[in-house]
């Protein structure tokens, strides 16, 4: 089981908004696939799947605010 984590977003930035999940729970993903779009006050970022597998958990919905380090989803 591998966490999908909100990465460090740069100097003086601590939070982000979930713009859009590109996958749903239960979907198969390949390592490197873009699974999630987030935005900060400074920029927009694409979050990739850290490993191949099935999305087992999605912890935040589109529009939610998340902090750097938050586990936003899991891949099994």
């Amino acid at each position: 089981m591998t966490d999908i984590i909100i990465p460090n977003l740069g100097n003086e930035i601590s939070e982000a908004e979930i713009t859009e999940w590109l996958v749903g729970a239960g979907e198969e993903v390949e390592e490197g696939d873009v699974v999630l779009l987030i935005s900060t006050t400074k920029t927009a970022l694409e979050i990739e799947a850290p490993v191949s597998g099935k999305i087992s958990q999605i912890n935040f919905s589109d529009g939610d605010l998340v902090q750097v380090g938050d586990v936003v989803g899991r891949i099994e």
């Binding site: 100097n11 003086e12 930035i13 935005s39 900060t40 006050t41 400074k42 605010l65």
Partner: protein, 820 residues
């Protein structure tokens, strides 16, 4: 980092040889008969006359400097005279080839170039146009003086206007083109296409490129020329400027009709010496100056080395380069080899060159050679030649006799108007924003980043008073973006550039989404050339445009030191207000990245007269002050703190208005009323001071907090009236304490509010050493505890509160004695 120019690894690593195509050296070979057909007899003779005028003018200056007299005129001239005797063919030949609307920018040795350009313009302009220029310049004062003092039939009034304007400027008289505020090395007269000469070697290079960019965006079919010395090839700015003019993006990325290079000619008046250092063979590595072009672009800047002892060779080259530039395939470079018979300055003893060398070059005296050429070809006879020489000498003598006369041609009387130079420093003019620009790529409101901002709360707190996230409320970053995009979309004369400004949206995201709205020719990525970024903005602005530029981190100001300190800050005053520099320089004060990325250098710039300086700390102020800065016609340094980009508005309970508004520069704001002590904050220090003030209430100390917002000008009225009530002043800034602007304010308050002060004004700044890395940063910028400690120690020792800050036991005097 445009995605449409992919960098292909296969292509990158394939084997090949980089070829260069050779640079022509002295290839000119037209006969005088061919030139006669091109120019006609009259023009060929006129060329000679112009060279004589330049020679005699500078001979006169030399005579004053070395002997204190010229002919029978006695005069002690105390200013500089960097003469170009021997280089007349370069100046006159080049000017002859240029049109009036072409702009030349010069060096400290550019009297000749400026006079030659003026003479050429006078010959090319219609009488009506000439009259209108002369009648409107300084309300017609100079032309009235000319008509009053010189016989119109004997002397061409426009030539007397030009030569008197230049000489009076050199002699620091009010009738000078810039009222004597520029002097010898900074003289210019823009209506004739003679733009500022520059006393900083190479200083004109970037300014000229900025002017070329303006000509390019206006598509006005003129070119810009930087007349530079060979010594300037050792200057970083010159290389930055050559690259800036040659950048690949014009051709590769800019939209039509701007998809070619600005019309820029780098004209090196190569006399082989940089003062006393010999460029050829000693201080420079090129064996031929033109070689430097090989390092700039595949076209090698169409470089050529030409014979600067022959005006026709120079004119021929300039005409050909001009054509290339108007086709848009520039920039171009000319290496005009010539020899300066006069010393670098009049105190030059020729310690660095031999008498033999000077003698050898005497047989290449351009005036002698060209006179001979015209005589041999029967274009002029000896009698006519002598007549020209006599007339020129007479012309220079008579105008000089009038200019040296202090009664007739006085300097500005500074004893009568002691602050007049101050009056030239700022124009305080405000630009009217015209109308929606017609070149926008997309409706602003359709752009995602703008749409996202519109969804946010304008105020930073919820109804119950809790703080909103920067994702939910307008941040300082957003408010900067709102002010800038308003101006960019409503003022087509405004351009924005700097490092990573376009696709990235600026290193700190202020420009995010702008690339979808503003075409590339008005919003582009600059090379990592801080000097050229500032310098080109100056050229763009003095040509009639407006610019907002950014240097990413304010720590990089050092890279643009001369351009900010000597150019941006000074040209308005050095031109006696003739030039306007509507430029906003965004300088972002960093955090967490250590000594070279975390310095508050606001004090460094307040030390330089001539710059408006603002440093807002809240979203509301940031938007309003940036709008004012963008409207202002004065050069403005706009400091931002990276620690504050995420701040939401908590002071103005209506939040940051969505609509456009301005906040006047020079007005402070009271953040909290209080009666016991005034705490003045500069920039980001507002927030720790606010925290400190809450703690102070527990100790029954009611602090009044004033946020400076603007440093130059500074709102002394508000601060003095506050200090008059509280009797105590603490100033908190993140700039290093030694020499900081906070100390200037403290000194002034000690003078102007002395009677009401209960204690000396105290300054807390950063310590006088480097900013450490992220984990240690709180030991550097003043923290809440440092502020509390100071209040208790310096103002309320009777409170006997335990000190908690890192500086609590510092012996400030001992540190100061150690240089810390």
């Amino acid at each position: 980092m445009p995605k449409n120019i992919p960098i292909d690894p296969i292509k990158t690593f394939s084997k090949s040889v980089l070829k260069s195509s050779g640079i022509p050296i002295h290839q000119y070979q037209k006969s005088i008969q061919e030139e006669l057909k091109i120019y006609g007899k009259e023009n060929l003779i006129e060329l000679l006359r112009h060279m004589y005028i330049v020679r005699e003018f500078e001979t006169m200056l030399n005579s004053f400097k070395t002997k204190g007299s010229y002919k029978n005129i006695e005069y002690i001239y105390n200013g500089p005279a960097h003469l170009s005797i021997g280089q007349e063919a370069a100046a006159v030949g080049s000017a002859f080839a240029l049109k009036t609307e072409d702009k030349i920018f010069g060096s400290h040795r550019s009297h000749g170039e400026m006079i030659a350009k003026g003479l050429s313009a006078i010959n090319n302009l219609s009488r009506n146009k000439l009259n209108s220029i002369m009648d409107t310049h300084h309300d017609g004062k100079l032309i009235s003086y000319i008509h009053k003092n010189f016989n119109n039939k004997e002397f061409n009034d426009a030539e007397m206007f030009l030569l008197t304007g230049v000489l009076a400027e050199i002699f620091m008289r009010e009738l000078g083109f810039n009222k004597g505020m520029g002097g010898s090395m900074h003289a210019f007269f823009t209506p004739f296409g003679a733009f500022p000469n520059n006393a900083i070697v190479g200083g004109s290079s970037g300014i000229a490129v900025g002017a070329a960019l303006h000509a390019h965006l206006k598509q006005n079919k003129s070119i810009c020329v930087a007349n530079l010395g060979d010594g300037s090839t050792g200057c970083g700015l010159v290389w930055e400027a050559m690259n800036f003019a040659a950048m690949g993006q014009y051709k590769n990325l800019w939209p039509k009709p701007f998809n070619n290079n600005p019309p820029m000619l780098f004209c090196f008046m190569n006399n082989f010496y940089a003062m006393g250092g010999q460029t050829l063979g000693e201080t420079m590595s090129w064996d031929r100056l033109s070689r430097i072009a090989s390092g700039v672009n595949p076209e090698q800047l169409h470089a050529e080395t030409v014979n600067g002892s022959d005006p026709l060779s120079v004119a021929d080259a300039v005409i050909r380069k001009r054509n290339i530039l108007l086709e848009g395939t520039g920039p171009a470079l000319l290496d005009i080899e010539c020899y300066r018979f006069s010393g670098h300055s009049t105190t030059d003893t020729n310690a660095y060159r031999s008498r033999e060398e000077i003698k050898d070059w005497k047989s290449f005296d351009p005036i002698e050679l060209y006179s001979q050429k015209l005589l041999e070809a029967d274009i002029i006879d000896k009698k006519n030649l002598d007549n020209i020489i006599e007339k020129v000498q007479n012309q220079i003598e008579i105008l000089t006799s009038k200019v040296v006369d202090r009664e007739l041609t006085p300097s500005i009387d500074i004893t009568k108007k002691p602050t007049i130079i101050g009056d030239f420093t700022f124009n305080k003019q405000v630009n009217r924003i015209s109308k929606t620009a017609n070149d926008l790529l997309m409706d602003i409101n359709q752009v995602n980043q703008i749409k996202n901002m519109k969804k946010k709360s304008r105020y930073g707190k919820t109804i119950d008073g809790s703080l909103l996230s920067g994702m939910r409320a307008i941040t300082l970053r957003d408010s900067l973006a709102e002010a800038i995009i308003y101006h960019l979309s409503n003022d087509k004369s405004l351009i924005a550039y700097g490092e990573e400004c376009r696709d990235w949206g600026g290193a700190f995201g202020v420009y995010r989404g702008f690339a979808d709205i503003i075409p590339m020719n008005r919003l582009f990525n600059a090379p990592i050339s801080e000097a050229a970024i500032v310098s080109t903005a100056i050229g763009y602005a003095i040509s009639g445009g407006r610019a907002i530029i950014e240097l990413m981190y304010s720590d990089f100001i050092g890279r643009a030191g001369d351009e900010i300190f000597n150019q941006l800050a000074k040209w308005q005053a050095m031109s006696a207000g003739e030039l306007k520099l509507p430029i906003v320089l965004r300088a972002s004060i960093g955090s967490k990245y250590g000594a070279q990325h975390s310095q508050d250098w606001s004090s460094l710039l307040t030390h330089i007269p001539g710059l408006s300086i603002v440093y807002p700390a809240t979203p509301y102020d940031a938007k309003g002050l940036l709008a004012s800065s963008l409207k202002s016609n004065d050069p403005t340094i706009f400091f931002e703190s990276q620690r504050l980009y995420e701040k939401v508005e908590i002071f103005n309970d209506k939040g940051v208005p969505e609509e456009y508004y301005t906040i006047p520069i020079g007005k402070a704001v009271k953040r909290k009323k209080g009666r016991d002590i005034t705490i003045l904050t500069i920039g980001a220090s507002l927030y720790p001071v606010l925290d400190a003030s809450e703690e102070l209430i527990n100790h029954k100390i009611d602090a009044e907090i004033i946020d400076a917002r603007s440093l130059v000008p500074f709102d002394y009225d508000m601060l003095i009236s506050s200090v008059n009530l509280t009797g105590r002043l603490l100033i908190v800034s993140e700039a290093v304490e030694r020499g900081s602007f906070a100390n200037t304010i403290a000194t002034n308050i000690s003078r102007f509010a002395f009677n009401n002060l209960k204690a000396p004004a105290i300054v807390i700044g950063a310590p006088n050493w480097i900013a450490p890395g992220a984990d240690m940063e709180k030991t550097y910028s003043p923290q809440t505890d440092d502020i509390l400690d100071s209040v208790f120690r310096d103002f309320f020792p009777e409170k006997r509160v335990n000190k908690k800050g890192l500086r609590k036991d510092w012996n400030f005097l001992e540190l100061a004695k150690k240089g810390l």
